[in-house]
């Protein structure tokens, strides 16, 4: 590892970025799991109102994923 990279890593660590990145990655994993669960529920659901709310939940999850991915690109 080059000195420049090492200093950047150390800086990131001191600013708490490393920690944040891990947490965002962790969140992304959770969101993936949530998405799978919601998709499965949606496939099994017949009631219209419940389907509607599950579709909204999936939309929210996807928006969160998009934001988390963007944040990872920006700070990690």
């Amino acid at each position: 590892m080059g000195l420049e990279k090492l200093i950047k890593k150390l800086g990131d660590y001191l600013e708490g970025k490393e920690d944040s990145c891990d947490k965002i990655r962790e969140l992304l994993e959770k969101l993936k799991h949530k998405q799978k669960k919601a998709e499965k529920k949606l496939a099994d659901e017949d009631r219209n109102s419940k389907r509607k709310s599950l579709k909204l939940e999936l939309k929210i999850i996807k928006a969160q994923q998009k934001k988390a991915e963007k944040l990872i690109k920006k700070i990690c």
Binding site: G16, D19, S20, K23, I24, L27, S49, K52, S53, L56, K59, I60, A63, Q64, K67, A68, L71
Partner: protein, 588 residues
């Protein structure tokens, strides 16, 4: 609330008693098990249904007032505890009180430390049900049902109908208790059942059974009510009844903890306070059940003319109710000095999430499903969410003018993306409002509901106007490759500032249901007309000036003013929804 859990609990209840069917054949006592099971089943159903009816109508009648009381009277921990007790006694649900408290914390109206006192008080408030059912006014049950039913169906006044439902609910609670009590009478001489009841003398067993049952039926009042029914037949001794009441305290906070999973940090922390306080309280008193029993025996009425089971049946219900109240009051007095420490411990235990802010950007903050049973409070949550959505729209509007006048594509795209969050929030609010509309709304609440629906739509339209029209104007300027002159910059920025103020006030008017603020939005019309006129004169002067790109610049500038006037129109409509809600006439 009771649907799935009630079904399970009723099933368990029946299963518990079906175990004695075979045993009964060996006994000399003739017990009609089928009839008994039916009576217990039906009695419990009536009891729980009555509780739900009573609670729903109490929330509808008093929910709104209770909320404002809770918001105002929690300045110190003692007032907080007293208010928490009073509010919970009226709305008959400690979980609703906790949810309200969470809303106040999220909105910055209350600190976690202040909320600890309220949560402690809520425990005292729940004991009022046991006190009422221990009155044994079962003879009046059918009269209450009859009068309540008449009020419900004969009155055209919404409030009277709600009071009727409440009275009928209370009657059903007592009637259900009578049926269960009568059904259990033969068990007084049935030895295997009496042996089972002796096992309940072990406080740990009693606590666990009551905690599990409370978790199943999601109501500590239901558990203590049933304990009192059993006590009124002399099946339960006072120490056993106290242990069961302790268990109901634990069961109720476990339910709250489960309900907080996946909720914002404030909700999890409030639930944790509830758990810590209730479990610590039970652990503290576990060794002193006999002493507590002695104390309440001294405090409660005694029937010296009776003996044996009959005396137990006459004295124990009130003693259990008193023990439950005394235990909760004592715990509050013991722990109230430590609210700051409890709050700090919970904050350390459940720290803030670093990435939570990101999550919150798309998920609604205040739309709590627990409050759907109390339309007044659920509508209030919609108002708070309008404020949340409004913050995002205002942020977009704040950034749009500099971006149109001198920004780049990235800035414009970032504003456009922000509208996706606004749209998602809008969808969540509409879905929540759909659920509110399924409940029973009073005439006033229906008006409030419709006005809010309109206001939320207008706020979303403001977001859309920024996203589609104003962002596009910025892109047009970039494509044409010219810059806006300094004097025009000033004219448009001044215009933007005024409309921005109108949007902020409209959001404030809707979120606070404040007619005075709504009036100030309406009054801004003249100022805006004047500003629009002076902008038009300025634009006309610029049009005749010898400048390159003056034609495309002119059309863009005119469009910017027009689109902002459209935004003001939506702000006015939001303000007018407050007029409609409060039954005031719109100004000419």
């Amino acid at each position: 609330m009771y649907t799935r859990f009630t079904k399970i609990s009723l099933l368990l209840f029946l299963m518990l008693f079906s175990g004695y069917v075979s045993a009964a054949e060996d006994s000399e006592t003739i017990i009609h098990w089928g009839t008994m099971a039916m009576s217990l089943f039906g009695g419990l159903a009536l009891f729980l249904f009555g509780m739900e009816q009573m609670s729903t109508s109490l929330k509808a009648v008093a929910g709104d007032r209770m909320k404002s009381i809770l918001a105002k009277l929690t300045t110190n921990r003692f007032m907080g505890a007293a208010t928490g007790a009073g509010v919970t006694a009226v709305i008959q649900s400690s979980s609703v009180t906790t949810v309200l408290v969470v809303g106040f914390i999220s909105a910055g109206l209350m600190t976690l430390s202040q909320s600890v006192g309220v949560i402690m008080g809520a425990n005292i408030g729940t004991t009022i049900t046991a006190q009422i059912v221990a009155f044994k006014i079962t003879k009046a049950a059918l009269l209450m049902i009859g009068v309540g039913f008449t009020m419900m169906f004969a009155s055209k006044n919404d409030r009277t109908r709600q009071y009727g439902t409440m009275l009928m609910g209370l009657g059903l609670v007592f009637y259900g208790m009578t049926i269960m009590s009568e059904a259990m009478k033969p068990l007084r001489s049935y030895q295997p059942f009496l042996d089972l009841m002796i096992q309940m003398e072990n406080p740990i067993t009693g606590i666990l059974i009551a905690a599990a049952f409370t978790g199943l039926v999601q109501s500590s009042s239901a558990t203590t009510g049933i304990v009192i029914v059993k006590a009124s037949q002399g099946f339960i001794t006072l120490p056993a009844g106290i242990a069961l009441a302790f268990g109901s305290n634990i069961g109720t906070c476990v339910t709250a903890m489960l309900a907080s999973i996946g909720k914002p940090r404030e909700a999890v922390r409030a639930a944790a306070v509830h758990v810590i306080f209730n479990v610590a309280g039970v652990l503290l008193w576990l060794m002193f059940i006999p002493q507590l029993a002695e104390l309440v025996t001294l405090m409660s009425p005694s029937y010296n003319d009776l003996s044996g089971l009959n005396r137990l049946a006459a004295e124990t219900p009130r003693q259990i109710a008193n023990a439950h109240t005394l235990f909760n009051i004592a715990n509050t007095l013991i722990f109230i000095g430590f609210t700051t420490q409890i709050a700090k411990a919970v904050e350390t235990l459940i720290p803030d999430k670093v990435v939570e802010i990101e999550e919150l950007q798309v998920r609604s903050k205040y739309l709590d499903h627990e409050l759907l049973s109390t339309p007044a409070l659920a509508l209030d949550r919609v108002r708070l969410e309008v404020l949340h959505m409004g913050e995002k729209v205002e942020d977009m509007y704040d950034r749009i003018m500099p971006a149109i006048l001198s920004g780049n594509n990235n800035e414009l795209n970032s504003i456009k993306e922000k509208d996706d969050d606004v749209d998602l929030l809008y969808e969540q609010i509409i879905e929540y409002m759909g659920l509110i509309s399924k409940g029973s709304l009073s005439d006033k609440q229906t008006e409030e509901f419709l006005a809010l629906m309109e206001a939320v739509g207008d706020l979303e339209n403001i977001g859309d106007t920024i996203e589609t029209n104003l962002v596009e104007l910025g892109k047009r300027r970039l494509r044409a490759g010219f810059s806006i002159s300094k004097p025009t910059h000033k004219v448009l920025t001044d215009f933007h500032k005024t409309i921005h103020r109108a949007v902020s006030l409209a959001i404030q008017a809707v979120s606070q249901s404040n007619i005075e603020v709504a009036k100030s939005v309406m009054k801004m019309q003249d100022d805006i007309a004047k500003l629009s006129e002076s902008a038009a004169i300025h634009q006309a002067e610029r049009l005749v000036a010898e400048e390159p790109n003056r034609i495309p610049a002119y059309t863009i500038e005119v469009d910017i003013v027009e689109k902002q006037k459209r935004i003001y129109k939506f702000a006015r409509r939001m303000a007018s929804s407050v007029y409609a809600e409060q039954g005031e006439d719109l100004p000419e």
